[in-house]
């Protein structure tokens, strides 16, 4: 299993319903990733503003992304590849 720390801003399409946000797909570089599943999510309230964090699955790859509420910006934190 390999883990790559990324730390890049990304574009995300998400659905907002019932007080929850759920990412649906995102664009990193020139490629668009369709999110097959949200593995887990958590809220980080340390700092001045909160951030919504997700572990999402796109095919065989796992991505950690988060939405920074203060900046209104999505970020790709890390990519985990099996093998």
């Amino acid at each position: 299993m390999s883990v790559e720390e990324v730390g890049e801003a990304i574009s995300v399409v998400a659905s907002f319903s019932g007080g929850k946000a759920r990412p649906v797909r995102f664009r990193w570089g020139s490629r668009t990733y369709r999110i097959d599943a949200v593995n887990g999510q958590w809220v980080d309230r340390s700092g001045d503003a909160y951030s919504l964090h997700y572990s999402v699955q796109a095919g065989q790859e796992t991505f950690y992304i988060h939405f920074e509420a203060g900046e209104v910006q999505w970020w790709l934190d890390r990519v985990i590849l099996e093998g």
Binding site: M1, G40, W42, D44, R45, G47, H53, Q57, T62
Partner: protein, 424 residues
């Protein structure tokens, strides 16, 4: 507190005839314990890790999945030994900020079932007395709580319910993994009869060996010894064990606003004799611990320093501070004195830790007759907290911690330590 260490609450209800009757209610303590917490979070977030042996740690195992435990691995084991026992285990460095966020979510759910919650990183105690009227009998309450955590957070927890703190914890441990256990009032002695003596709180390895030499291997067997005999063998601890082996525990719940200790500890990336590095690390750990003290609006009365040499010899000493404080600069002078006393051998240190205790409520503003220098240090700490609350702990590196720059990596949360401490 009533007899047997049980608290009792009294309710008044109107009976059909219009008069009042007094109904007595026993205490119901809930203990919630996340199963293989760090490893479970990793397996939740990374599907490729599910059903595989997973280790979280650096140097030694901080947490391992149940698949790894079946291979003989356990918390505290060195990674070298773990690698020999289970070469197929996947090692994760761990991300403690993520674990804290998941723990906070679990405790939010627990607060729906309890009044007052005493939380630690991967376990919590709550008072569910009276909540049966909302959630049903104790086992039903426990199962609902467990299922809600699984549904909303995705993590397995074990739940123990009993009339006191100690029994609730023993109950949850007996139900692991993923179980719920309830010890009815009056059933404590039966429940403890076959409990291995080492699992009774207050019985460490040495005491367990001493008792095993007397052929006492279970809590039930320990009851054969009188209070006087236990007292003469073990002093005040013996008196406590006399009560505990009978299921009695006088400890009360402490909602998180007043912890018993706040600690920070870590292992060095490489064992070191460099006094500058050791002092810098101790200042950094103290800084982190004191920030938690200030956030809880407390002051500290005692500080304990522990060091572990590279030959695994461990020393610890505790001192009362000249006056209660919430500023690390004042406590650090005492820590330096303790370090000078303890660190005298030419064997490198591999691990250091700070434990703060003796808390009291902060005065809430300026302290009358506070010396000017201490007042300005306290204001400095408060100002640094404001910056760090907004921009993250790493926004400012202060005091002796500066010596860690260039030695350790940093992220938004601060220096990346090899084995970040757990606050208990």
């Amino acid at each position: 507190m009533g007899e047997f260490g049980k608290a009792r609450a009294f309710w008044r209800i109107a009976c059909k005839g219009g008069g009042w009757t007094v109904q007595e209610m026993t205490c119901l303590i809930v203990h919630v314990d996340a199963d293989a917490f760090f490893a479970s979070v990793e397996q939740l977030l990374i599907p490729a890790l599910r059903a595989r042996p997973v280790i979280v740690g650096s140097g030694c195992i901080a947490s391992c999945s149940y698949e790894a435990r079946r291979m003989g691995l356990h918390a505290g084991m060195s990674l070298v030994r773990a690698g020999r026992l289970c070469p197929q285990a996947v090692l994760c460095k761990g991300d403690y900020q993520i674990y804290r966020c998941f723990a906070e979510r679990i405790w939010e759910i627990c607060r729906q079932y309890t009044c007052g919650l005493e939380t630690y990183l991967d376990e919590a105690y709550g008072d569910a007395g009276g909540m049966e009227r909302v959630h049903g009998p104790p086992l039903t309450l426990g199962r609902k709580l467990q299922q809600q955590v699984l549904d909303e957070v995705g993590l397995p927890v074990s739940v123990g319910l009993a009339g006191n703190r100690m029994m609730a914890k023993i109950a949850s441990a007996s139900a692991k993994p993923g179980g719920v256990a309830y010890v009815q009032p009056g059933q404590e002695e039966d429940f403890l009869a076959d409990l291995p003596i080492g699992k009774l709180p207050g019985v460490g390895h040495k005491t367990a060996r001493k008792l095993a030499d007397m052929n006492i291997r279970t809590a039930g067997q320990l009851r054969a010894l009188s209070r006087d005999v236990l007292g003469s063998m073990l002093g005040r601890r013996g008196q406590t064990l006399y009560e505990r082996c009978r299921g009695r525990d006088p400890q009360v719940l402490r909602p998180v606003a007043m912890p018993s200790t706040i600690s920070r500890e870590t292992t060095f990336h490489k064992p070191t004799c460099d006094r500058n590095e050791i002092r810098a690390m101790l200042f950094y750990l103290l800084e982190r611990a004191m920030r938690a003290v200030r956030q809880a609006s407390l002051t500290v009365g005692r500080v304990e320093l522990s060091i572990r040499h590279d030959d695994w010899k461990q020393l610890a000493t505790r001192r009362t501070l000249p006056q209660p404080t919430s500023a690390e600069y004042e406590a650090f002078r005492v820590v330096e004195e303790m370090l000078a006393q303890m660190f005298r051998r030419r064997v490198a240190l591999r691990h250091v830790g700070i434990v703060l205790s003796g808390f009291s409520r902060a005065a809430g503003g300026a302290v009358l007759f506070e010396p000017r220098q201490e007042a300005s240090r306290r204001r400095l700490c408060v100002a640094l907290d404001a910056i760090r609350n907004r921009y993250g702990h790493a926004a400012v590196v202060a005091g002796e911690s500066i010596s860690l720059m260039g030695r350790l990596e940093r992220n938004d949360y601060g220096f990346v330590l090899r084995t970040p401490s757990l606050t208990k």
